[in-house]
């Protein structure tokens, strides 16, 4: 049987999966996986032109980088059976900033912040997601896509210090974080589905608490552009995470692990 051709396309966050390539090949022998990544800002400007996905063609630096990292400046996505896009935060930061900027009137938490109604909060979430989902759809034309969020940062970003990262850190103590997490996933699933995309949620086994990844997955993360360059920034994840996320994707395309 000819292996199904899979393209994993995205930002620097594809690194976790790229460095799990050998494990993915072993776990999923029926899948032939190709990786194509660009740094976040360049990925945001990338789009499909005549079937070829790639960075802004006028950006010679980005084209050169794409060629160096991926072996090709652009990629013909029509040649693949399935495409997994990883890396956009898809309205998540705006949603979380809203949640920590207001007390949601319908929930009991009061921190002496301005009140925002729950319909207002959900509308803000929907609008923030839609803005990014529309952009993603425009980047890839009408191609069917599976989409995974950029991973949640690990719990290492919660304490004050060099890794500290809001608004995610605030979710560690937010009493309604679980409700927000559920609402966000539901809204994101619906928004992607409405645009012909399927959401692949971050696997539960990697999640410490809503919007935060278990800390071990942040250790040993590597720069997707250069073999062996350690990141350990706890925003990018390691190969264990990549293998886990790929397994979730494989289930989504009905091709689960054969090991």
């Amino acid at each position: 049987m000819t292996p199904a051709k899979i393209a994993v396309v995205g930002t620097s966050n594809i690194g976790a999966m790229k460095y799990a390539e050998a494990r993915i090949a072993a776990d999923h022998p029926s899948l032939d996986v190709t990786f194509y990544g660009l740094p976040g800002g360049k990925f945001d400007e990338a789009r499909l032109i005549d079937g070829q996905f790639g960075p802004d063609r006028a950006d010679t630096g980005a084209m050169k980088l794409a060629r160096r990292v991926n072996g090709t400046a652009t990629i013909d996505l029509a040649a693949f059976d399935h495409i997994l896009v990883i890396g956009d935060t898809l309205g998540m930061p705006a949603t979380l900033w809203t949640a920590i900027s207001y007390d949601i009137a319908d929930w009991p938490l009061r921190r002496d912040l301005p009140l925002l109604s729950l319909p207002g909060f959900l509308s803000a979430m929907t609008e923030s997601i839609a803005l990014r989902a529309d952009h993603l759809r425009a980047q890839f034309g009408t191609l069917p896509l599976h989409v995974a969020l950029a991973p949640y940062p690990t719990t290492a970003v919660v304490p004050p210090g060099p890794l500290h990262q809001q608004p995610y850190a605030a979710m560690a103590t937010h009493p309604h974080a679980a409700q927000i997490h559920t609402a966000f996933r539901d809204a994101l699933t619906a928004a992607l589905q409405a645009r012909g995309m399927i959401f692949v949620p971050q696997p539960d086994e990697t999640i410490a608490q809503p919007f935060l990844t278990r800390e071990p997955f942040g250790h040993g993360s590597l720069d997707f552009r250069a073999d062996g360059r350690l990141l350990n920034d706890h925003r990018h994840m390691n190969a264990d995470f990549g293998a886990s996320l790929f397994a979730a994707f494989a289930v989504a395309i009905a091709s689960p692990s054969q090991t």
């Binding site: 900033w97 920590i100 009137a105 109604s117 319909p119 207002g120 803000a124 609008e127 608004p167």
Partner: protein
């Protein structure tokens, strides 16, 4: 008459602006000398904006010109623009929604000082609305308690905004309102339009005349002067016609009556105090000098280029226009920064249109 002698006339020597020909005919529909400010407005002037939905244009244009428009309940980080606007953030100086009548504004300030409006919460299909600003929560709220809690927070923000203001820009929109018969509480929308239910035993129609509006304004001004003694006012009249009238008149004369009353009120008030100025938005919008109708196809929404011209005239008179084309007048097709299309303005009164008879165009 002998050569070299002309009859004396009190009109001789008056400037071109005093004559229809030259003041209106044959000049820009936005004549730069139509408005002579009583007091300066600068980018540092702390402006509080309120009024009927046309006032949204005024606030937006002032913000775009860099004027310090107060926003006591701003959209905070994360809240995206469409949602913010739909829920009344950044539309006026606080989230009070449209204030269509002077009575409504007076009542709001009285409430800030402790008065309680009658029937403050309206219900529809198990959701609850703030009867005094139903438009700022388009989906309603989960309980009356939440309505009241959010209102208390709003009133505190409003008091802060009014105490900070140097100038209130208030666009008078309507004379018609619906009131609670027993207490006189007025509402910005008719009961049953967004929420609540019309019961003629509880509510009745009011159409305020010049004297009543002047009384309301005097009480409003007095209440605000005690809070902020240096406050000044800039009044305008909205050119947007009534969406519907409950006066038994045809809607056209009802509109003309309403606007005429408001225009007279503005004139009396502006003549009465150096602290009160009037800017002729109504006249600029409805001037016969426009080459085409100043209204959109619905004959109600003011075309964006007309709004832009009006606001440019205002800003230019204060030296705040971003590019000064006063001498040339503005091209009619001109839109401008900060101009909100009338269709995009939040106007609850248009919801009355849904109640027109079947078969009406």
């Amino acid at each position: 008459m002998a050569d070299g002698m002309r009859a004396r006339s009190p009109y001789a020597g008056l400037p071109a602006r005093a004559f229809w020909r030259g003041g209106v005919t044959g000049t820009s529909p936005f004549p730069p000398d139509i408005y002579r400010p009583k007091f300066p407005v600068t980018r540092d002037t702390r402006v509080f904006t309120a009024g009927s939905c046309f006032a949204q244009h005024v606030g937006a244009a002032m913000k775009a010109a860099g004027i310090n428009v107060i926003d006591a309940e701003p959209a905070r980080r994360g809240l995206p623009p469409e949602t913010a606007k739909r829920f009344g953030y950044g539309v006026y100086s606080a989230r009070f929604g449209n204030i269509y009548t002077v009575r409504q504004f007076r009542q709001l300030v009285d409430e800030m000082a402790g008065a309680t409006p009658a029937l403050p919460v309206w219900e529809k299909d198990g959701r609850f609305w703030d009867a005094q600003r139903p438009g700022v929560e388009p989906d309603g709220l989960a309980s009356p308690d939440i309505v009241l809690e959010m209102r208390a927070q709003h009133l505190a923000a409003l008091a802060q905004a009014l105490s900070q203001a140097d100038l209130i820009v208030f666009t008078l929109g309507l004379t018609e309102a619906w009131k609670h018969t027993a207490t006189g509480t007025v509402y910005p929308t008719a009961p049953g339009t967004i929420a609540g239910n019309y019961d003629p035993a509880i509510f009745r129609f009011a159409n305020y005349g010049v004297a009543e509006i002047l009384d309301d304004f005097s009480a409003l001004e007095e209440a605000l002067t005690s809070l902020n003694p240096d406050l000044r006012w800039l009044l305008t009249v909205s050119p947007v016609p009534l969406a519907a009238t409950a006066s038994t008149q045809h809607v056209l004369p009802a509109t003309m009556l309403s606007k005429s009353i408001l225009r007279v009120v503005c004139d009396i008030l502006a003549a009465s105090s150096e602290r009160i100025d009037y800017f002729p938005s109504y006249e600029l919008a409805t001037s016969p000098a426009h080459a085409a109708s100043p209204f959109e196809a619905n004959l109600r929404s003011v075309r964006p280029e007309i709004v832009a011209g009006i606001m440019h005239t205002f800003l230019a008179s204060h030296g705040l226009a971003q590019d000064d084309r006063r001498e040339e007048g503005l091209p009619e097709e001109h839109g401008g920064p900060g101009v909100v299309r009338q269709d995009d303005a939040i106007c609850e009164d248009i919801l009355l249109d849904a109640f027109r008879p079947e078969g009406a165009p």
